[in-house]
Symmetry: C2
């Protein structure tokens, strides 16, 4: 297997209601990138959230007493805390200036995915897409390939952030080696590789954070189309051997 | 940035004392792959461990009373448990058939990295390299490029394994966006991307688990040579916001 990650660059500023799939198609055509059915397009949640209008103006937010109390403790804007809490199923940790939350989708990440970077205006934040799998399916239908929606998450035990799958369409989340044999005839026991997350991680490097590259074309990963959900990548606490 | 991951395939069976760097050089020449100084070669720990003789025959191991007790509880071979404990600084979790350990290097992983897959014989296990950074530096010197040593680890909160850096030479572990500005003029606050782990993850897909592809050539990632250590990727418990 040879893997290629190629940036889809210079998209226009994505605004609510814009047809993101069409923008991506236009940009790939202009850049003479042909999308094959076996390709996977990785798209950062940020532009999906923008296209879907998942944007909040903090000046329109009224902070609750709870948000004000947390905000004071964490030196955050109480309206930002209000938005984070409304995106959260529960607060996992609260420390220093970071709120680690479980989102309504089940993702565990800083600030429930509410983010101020790469948006216009100081008062504007983006929320995660409401249903990133649905967003991925819609893009996959129009682009005619596999799609993963990514966000940049922190990790337990290790420093630094990595891009991770929060939405997926067509592509299976895993490569399942269980029951297969290695080159020496041993049956592999527990080797379920999180393929989609691994692709997302490298795609995240190609996207960068300061350049306007919200999508990456991934070529070379072999996959059979299947019905995928990002929740398949979530481990229930009962099954989590690490916790 | 465009990223390419290309397999270095069909290496000979690596045995203790063999010159792994030379084997890799030979294989790239035979495959007409040229290694550039800006390339990064990802190498699975397995063949480094083999070349360095980090191999244990279980028949030569005597299990302690503690190992026998744990083995009984976990339905494991007591001699395997003995080897795992000798590779561990502490046991993090013990559940079902999996022992999560912190290795002497500080990595938290299943069975302290002791592994029975992709080795000859049913009685043979490999240990992680004693000093994977040193192994990486030695390979980097001879190959004339950046090197990451990878292993396949489980994760907290998410299903599936990903390849992760356990040794690194020349390449910086992170891309540091802190203090930089996004396209809208906002200063990015906390964006320290774990670049080396992200490259390792995708390289792990190219390596696979059942084919004999223990190394991957990564091209396109821009980096400036630096003194790196895999321990830079480890988060101390005090700093771990997620725990």
């Amino acid at each position: 297997m040879k893997l290629d990650f190629r940036p889809i660059e210079h998209l226009p500023e994505i605004r609510p209601g814009m047809n993101l799939a069409q923008c991506l198609l236009d940009r790939t055509r202009e850049s003479e990138i042909e999308i094959h059915p076996q390709d996977i397009v990785a798209v950062t949640q940020k532009i999906i959230s923008k296209a879907e209008g998942r944007i909040v103006q903090l000046c329109a937010v009224e902070a609750s007493a709870q948000s004000i109390a947390i905000a004071r403790r964490m030196k955050k804007d109480p309206r930002l805390v209000e938005v984070i809490l409304s995106e959260s199923r529960r607060i996992v940790r609260m420390r220093d200036e970071v709120l680690i939350c479980e989102t309504h989708h089940g993702f565990i990440c800083a600030n429930a995915g509410v983010d101020q970077s790469n948006v216009e205006g100081n008062d504007t934040v983006t929320l995660l897409p409401q249903d990133p799998d649905r967003s991925a399916r819609e893009l996959a239908r129009i682009l005619g390939c596999g799609v993963i929606v990514t966000d940049t998450f922190g990790r337990v035990w290790r420093e630094g952030l990595v891009d991770t799958v929060i939405g997926i369409a067509r592509v299976p989340p895993f490569i399942d080696f269980r029951g297969k044999h290695d080159s020496y005839g041993h049956q592999l026991q527990v080797t379920l590789l999180a393929a989609a997350d691994s692709l997302a991680a490298a795609a995240g490097l190609v996207m960068g954070k300061t350049s306007r590259t919200p999508a990456v074309l991934i070529r070379g990963f072999p996959w059979d189309a299947t019905e995928s959900h990002a929740a398949m990548l979530l481990r229930t606490p009962e099954k989590d051997l690490f916790l």
